[in-house]
């Protein structure tokens, strides 16, 4: 296993138009398969893997998004992304060249009464149980290994409160606003059917159990000097995530077994806004959907976020 050191400059530019148009429905992201990677921006950078030739890295995709809001006894928001993703030498010490296309559906459901919101006897709001469901169907073409496959991915993410200090998916704010954290869990299933492969023995289908959990912690400071209870922005970010995959059903001759993926990120926001940050991410393990096979690498990031109205 080689350790890679990758540096990237990430520009997050958001265009805010004054009217709803075709371009408002276009999204540019790293991937569209689940919300873990959807939160990450598209990356175009030069990577400098240790002891290997220089790679040019392109990793991102474009999607056309449609939304629908559901009303009634439960409230919901459904979004469809028609997407195409291109990965070229993405975080690997081997050559990579693949592309994906497909459709993903995300549904966010709010359980509980939102038409006549209820208060608890002590006058505070009653917690609402929230559920995120993501379902993706995609075609993947790996040009290096000459493999074509079809994938179906299903993920769930619940949001609920156990106590004021322990919530799943929801924010825990403490220290009068100085500390913010999120604990997230996401179980799921991944199905992949490989066909048109260079090695015939790898033809077949497999189904993986998927489980991901992450903990994000933010140390925050005031947007402006002062001690008011409001106006907090990030100063330091520390987040850790663990992903479990195991192919409990596999008709190909290559059993994957247990595939863990660990990731740790540390970031610093030097100014009293969330627009600029620099930090590092350490990642170790495997992600078969991104063609990352037992890799270990450091990713140094400088992020600049700008909204253009």
């Amino acid at each position: 296993m080689k350790t890679l050191f990758i540096t990237s400059l990430i520009l997050l530019i958001t265009f805010k138009s004054t009217s709803q148009s075709f371009w408002d429905k276009i999204e540019i992201k790293k991937s569209f398969e689940n919300k873990i990677d959807k939160d990450k921006p598209a990356i175009a950078s030069f990577s400098l893997p240790t002891g290997a030739k220089k790679y040019f890295t392109i990793n991102g995709g474009v999607a056309y998004r449609l939304s629908k809001l559901g009303t009634g006894s439960i409230a919901s928001k459904t979004q469809w992304d028609l997407f195409g993703v291109y990965n070229r030498n993405n975080q690997l010490n081997k050559e990579q060249h693949n592309y994906k296309g497909g459709i993903s559906m995300e549904k966010k459901i709010v359980f509980g009464n939102t038409t006549t919101p209820r208060l608890k006897p002590n006058g505070t709001a009653k917690d609402l149980f929230l559920l995120y469901i993501s379902f993706t169907n995609e075609y993947i073409r790996d040009r290096i290994d000459s493999v074509s496959s079809f994938g179906s991915l299903l993920y769930f993410s619940p949001y609920f409160k156990i106590s004021e200090k322990l919530k799943i998916g929801k924010p825990v704010i403490s220290g009068n606003g100085r500390f913010l954290s999120y604990l997230k869990v996401m179980p799921g299933l991944e199905y992949q059917n490989k066909f048109e492969v260079s090695k015939k023995e790898t033809t077949g289908s497999l189904t993986r159990l998927f489980f991901s959990s992450s903990y994000e912690f933010y140390l925050r400071w005031h947007k402006e000097e002062g001690n008011s209870a409001s106006g907090w922005v990030n100063m330091f970010e520390s987040s850790i995530s663990y992903t479990y995959r195991n192919d409990f059903y596999n008709s190909t001759s290559e059993r994957e077994g247990y595939l863990p993926l660990f990731s740790y990120t540390l970031a610093f926001y030097p100014f009293r806004n969330n627009n600029i940050s620099f930090g590092a991410t350490y990642q170790k393990g495997s992600d078969p959907l991104a063609d990352i096979d037992h890799e270990e690498f450091w990713l140094f990031e400088f992020k600049f976020k700008k909204s253009i109205k």
Binding site: K16, S19, Q20, D24, K35, D39, S67, L69, G70, T71, G72, A75, S76, K77, Q79, K108, I109, V110, G112, T114, T115, T116, P117, R118, L119, K120, N122, G123, T124, A125, K126, D127, L128, L130, Y132, Y159, F160, K161, E164, K167, G169, K170, P171, V172, I173, G177, L180, Y182, K223, A229, S230, G231, W232, V233
Partner: protein
């Protein structure tokens, strides 16, 4: 002649009964004065509907993030959803669905667009948006 107070109960016009609807109105022989007290009653009723709407929106905002520390009536309108209440993009989508459902229940067929939701940065922005949609 001594003015005799009478108690009149004002019924809410919205589906959910609103509390605080008792008023003491002083009866006078002067018709003009009587009109003034009637219009004052309507204003008070509208005020309590607006107050209830504000409490409802604040309750939804706090319920989505599971905040049991702040009472909806004490939630400041200048609180920023992201900075002060911990909202992120995913949670704002849930809030969009919940507020849209609330608006649809109050006024059938009315929806909150993605653009309108994106512009909601503070608690006050959400209260104003829902108020505008329902009125």
């Amino acid at each position: 002649m001594a003015k005799k107070p009478i108690i009149r109960k004002i019924k809410s016009t919205v589906e959910r009964p609103i509390k605080i609807t008792l008023e003491i109105i002083v009866k006078t022989d002067n018709i003009l004065n009587n009109n003034v007290t009637k219009s004052s009653s309507i204003e008070l009723m509208e005020l309590s509907i607006a107050d209830q709407l504000s409490i409802d929106v604040k309750t939804i905002i706090l319920a989505i993030v599971g905040n049991g520390k702040i009472k909806p009536k004490d939630l400041p309108e200048d609180y920023n959803l992201e900075e002060d209440l911990g909202y992120n993009d995913e949670l704002k989508d849930f809030l969009h669905a919940a507020l849209n459902n609330y608006v649809d229940h109050k006024k059938s067929g009315v929806t909150i667009s993605q653009k309108e939701m994106d512009d909601c940065e503070t608690v006050g922005d959400c209260v104003t948006l829902v108020n505008k949609k329902i009125s």
